[in-house]
Symmetry: none
Amino acid sequence: MLLTVEPDGDDPIYQQLRDQIVVAIAAGVLVPGDALPTTRQLAADLGINMHTVNKAYDLLRREGFVRLGRRTGAVVARGPADGPADAEDVAEWEPRARTLLAEAFAKGMPPQEVLERCQVLLDEFTKR
Amino acid sequence: MLLTVEPDGDDPIYQQLRDQIVVAIAAGVLVPGDALPTTRQLAADLGINMHTVNKAYDLLRREGFVRLGRRTGAVVARGPADGPADAEDVAEWEPRARTLLAEAFAKGMPPQEVLERCQVLLDEFTKR
Amino acid sequence: MLLTVEPDGDDPIYQQLRDQIVVAIAAGVLVPGDALPTTRQLAADLGINMHTVNKAYDLLRREGFVRLGRRTGAVVARGPADGPADAEDVAEWEPRARTLLAEAFAKGMPPQEVLERCQVLLDEFTKR
Amino acid sequence: MLLTVEPDGDDPIYQQLRDQIVVAIAAGVLVPGDALPTTRQLAADLGINMHTVNKAYDLLRREGFVRLGRRTGAVVARGPADGPADAEDVAEWEPRARTLLAEAFAKGMPPQEVLERCQVLLDEFTKR
DNA sequence: GTGGTCTAGACCACA
DNA sequence: GTGGTCTAGACCACG
């Protein structure tokens, strides 16, 4: 499980961390029960501020992906196999998907190709 | 073509505008040659500042979706049928798609369902 | 001598006209004594405003490239062979050249390649 | 690294800033990793508005010359030695070079002299 | 009458 | 304390 950050990237650092961890959970690199590095540890490894890591973890907690315990640290709480998605999550996800797909289609990607690319990306998660 | 904004939403206003216009282009609600409202007009209609609209339009121009004319105002310049996507655009799109798909999958949506939802969303664009 | 304009291009229309005429003079397509189209004629041909053509011609007059007569219309007044450049012109030209060359070099073009490209572009003018 | 602006010049202020910074990068006065003044600082120094500096920095970011950091401010990201130029950049550069060279030649500067001046200007960058 | 530019001043997200 | 965003209002270039 290797996390990296671009301090001056377009996305804020905490978002970069959150995204990578979500992808890792989707890919099965992280499974429910796995412990994430402590905030201090991760912050030191990446050369970033502890508060930034905290923010990423807190975001993941609010999204239901991790559980934060005083002594246990951050533990993965949710994976692909842990039951179907909440209707609420789906409702929040769909408009973002619409925008992303619209972007690809409006820029000239044929729907068939868009779907194939989505298929390939999803396969990355399940083939593991 | 109805545009709305949530001043207190998560995304900045100019981004909301940009997203809605991209979706409208994908759906064929806006086709190349169509004129968008003038910056001042749209700003007045939405109760926001001219500069905010300006920023959205400028973003769309840099993405190649509109041309900003000196007298014509903003005109749609790019639609789904105007040639294939640049390799560069695809390269920039894919990681964002990966994150979005990972999110859906990690939250419990089966890959098949994710693909179906993408299919449905894409159909919204082509069925029109 | 074919002139074209992009109404919604980055450069204003009068500038596009001016640039094309300067290039035509450099290339010998237009030589001193040649008459340019009348403002009305050119405006009609290109589907643009007469004032815009006028502005381009006036700019060329101030730069010394054309002479404007009430009855003669616009006539090319200056070509490559009509004596050396004014020190004033050179002084005004150089900083713009510096910026353009800096841009190429800073973006990674080796000086040798930059010079070769300049050579090729200049050859376009003299080879005719 | 001294930056100056002419508020009443032909070019907009943000363009003047952008040009000077590009020249400084080409000349090696600014090298990758160097920090530029903060937007507020530079605005105060030059007696201009923060947003104007912001626009210059944003332009440089889109051109790939600087990265805008969340805490670090603006940092030079690209110099002459950082890999070859993109084909896209070259394609965009050439017509501008053509116009500039045509101007010099049409005004009476012999091709040889034009090239020599380009050589001298390029030497300013490499000799440092 | 359009977009482009600039100024002034405010609040927020990020680190 | 940084850049990012938004608002308000003004003048100019362009056509």
